[in-house]
Symmetry: C2
């Protein structure tokens, strides 16, 4: 990941201009190995006291608020801004990977000449270049604004595809992994072409197999009597109102729903509770990515509504966390 | 573990008398499988709203303060009281295991007729019976008061052996596991006989092998240049003043010390940081029990002082957390 750069000089300037005495540094898992060297550089150049967060971190939704409460400024690395925390500064990671090669590979896969363009924050600075390139090839690309949980037009998160709610028949996603384009395909019901600038590939995303797998979990949970409704205390994941509403739905249908509140949600940690199924209101990726590691089915809120007969099976939606969903 | 009983009726009375609307339940790992049934019973008998803590929990030092902040009362199961939290009620676990059989096995191992008696909270209600039995066998047993971190005379924790600071030449420990009696043997430098009422065994504790192993870690850390000083934010483990003092010692000796703050301290989570050794100011048991699972040596504060030349090798002490050590 040497292709990522952080603006360390900007951090040093901020520390000096704000006259900080003690700062915090928080890194997501992929960048933690850089923590000690970055901390050393900042300390040597400013003399400030530094506390590094050792807690797991998987997103801008996952701020170390305990650490933020003990320092003048906490610098959170690798994600764009989310939420309103006065003393948290987000240090984004921008990739210098060239995105045009994978877009060239994607061109023959595109079906329309008027599509929506989406990406993750790592490549957000490349959207202008891509739009220009597509126009030269006869394709008009539109960048949706998204809601307040994203920082840039065209940006998608694993739990927020609002930048793709712009009424196009096709979306072109730039970035790695299948989760985001799959999410967009399900959230919009439209065609998504995913172009990966790290390995220079492009593919059309087909959500059918994924949806069949999810149907299996729904079917398994249908006879459940005892449900664990998971709520996270993480800064950008706390959907307690949704969890309370789901608990009421369970009661209405004569089921038992236990509200389980935690910080990090892991299959291991939930092994101990005797429930027939979990419903996850924390990070939606956990429900999908870790599904097979849970000892009982783990459902999205929408899937639970299907199980309870409160939502039609063919009205299933991708679980997203939107701008007014979270209690901070 | 069916031999443990919790006072559920007492909980129900408290909820009714305090007119609680919403309560929290926190269980340590060994009791989490009881959570759903206990929650169901309380809800059915009181109608109160309940949130169960899903976070890992390893002691009374490990309160779910986020949950406590959201409920009228949080009931914390399995440990005796620690700290000052107005709305936390501790529901102790008492074992009904018969302790006299293992004491009988211990009798021939005892060297003195005037010893100190210690145990964990699970067997604390049996100390009177044991004292009487020992007296009938010509042995005077004294129960030390301990400091404010323990709830009962004679009680020891994995990080607090102050109930054994009563100037006896020998201590008799009742309970399972080797950690507590080993800790007492090292903390006091006296003979400790450990009697286990679960498997009816008794043995003299020999700390030499353990101390040799620790010497190995100290030796490995002696050439270290970069140290990670771990501080926990857990309610009863936060020794930030100690951590700051250790950081100053490192600086004085030309070493680099990075303060790493976290909730749960695990080898996995610390794998990412590039340091030559860790110094753990959080739960002292982690340093000992998980030592082999860390990728670099992890030292107690006292061992780090030896490494820095600030403490003599033969003045090594067991790491304890005492009543004034913790920031709550």
């Amino acid at each position: 990941m040497s292709e990522f750069d952080f603006d360390i000089n900007g951090i040093i300037e901020t520390i000096k201009s704000k006259n900080c005495k003690i700062i915090g540094l928080q890194f997501p898992e992929g960048f933690k190995r850089k923590a000690v060297n970055i901390s050393k550089e900042i300390e040597e150049k400013t003399g400030v006291s530094i506390i590094i967060s050792g807690n797991p971190c998987f997103g801008a939704c996952d701020l170390d608020t305990a650490l933020a409460g003990k320092v003048d400024i906490m610098f959170h690395f690798g994600h764009s801004k989310m939420g309103k925390f006065a003393n948290v500064v987000f240090i984004e990671a921008r990739s210098n990977a060239d995105v045009l090669p994978c877009i060239k590979i994607a061109l023959p896969l595109l079906k329309t000449t008027n599509l929506g363009l989406i990406t993750t924050v790592q490549h957000i600075h490349k959207l202008g270049e891509v739009t220009k390139f597509l126009r030269e090839n006869g394709i008009e690309a539109t960048v949706g604004k998204g809601d307040r949980r994203v920082s840039y037009p065209g940006q998608v998160l694993g739990c927020n595809f609002t930048a793709a709610h712009i009424d196009r028949e096709e979306y072109l996603y730039i970035g790695s992994g299948i989760f985001h384009p799959l999410g967009v395909a399900i959230a919009t019901g439209k065609i998504v072409v995913a172009a990966d600038p790290y390995i220079n590939t492009a593919m059309v995303v087909y959500p059918e197999k994924f949806l069949r797998k999810r149907s299996g979990y729904i079917a398994k949970a249908i006879d459940g009597k005892i449900f664990g409704i998971i709520v996270s205390t993480k800064s950008g994941q706390n959907r307690i109102e949704l969890a309370n509403r789901l608990t009421e739905i369970a009661k209405k249908h004569g089921k038992f729903a236990h509200l389980i509140m935690m910080d990090l949600v892991t299959p291991d940690q939930l092994l101990a509770f005797k429930v027939d199924a979990y419903v996850n209101t924390a990070c939606p990726r956990i429900t999908i990515d870790d599904a097979e590691r849970f000892h009982v089915p783990i459902l999205t809120p929408q899937e639970f509504e299907v199980v309870m007969g409160e939502r039609k099976w063919d009205d299933l939606k991708m679980d997203e966390i939107l701008e007014n969903d979270v209690q901070e």
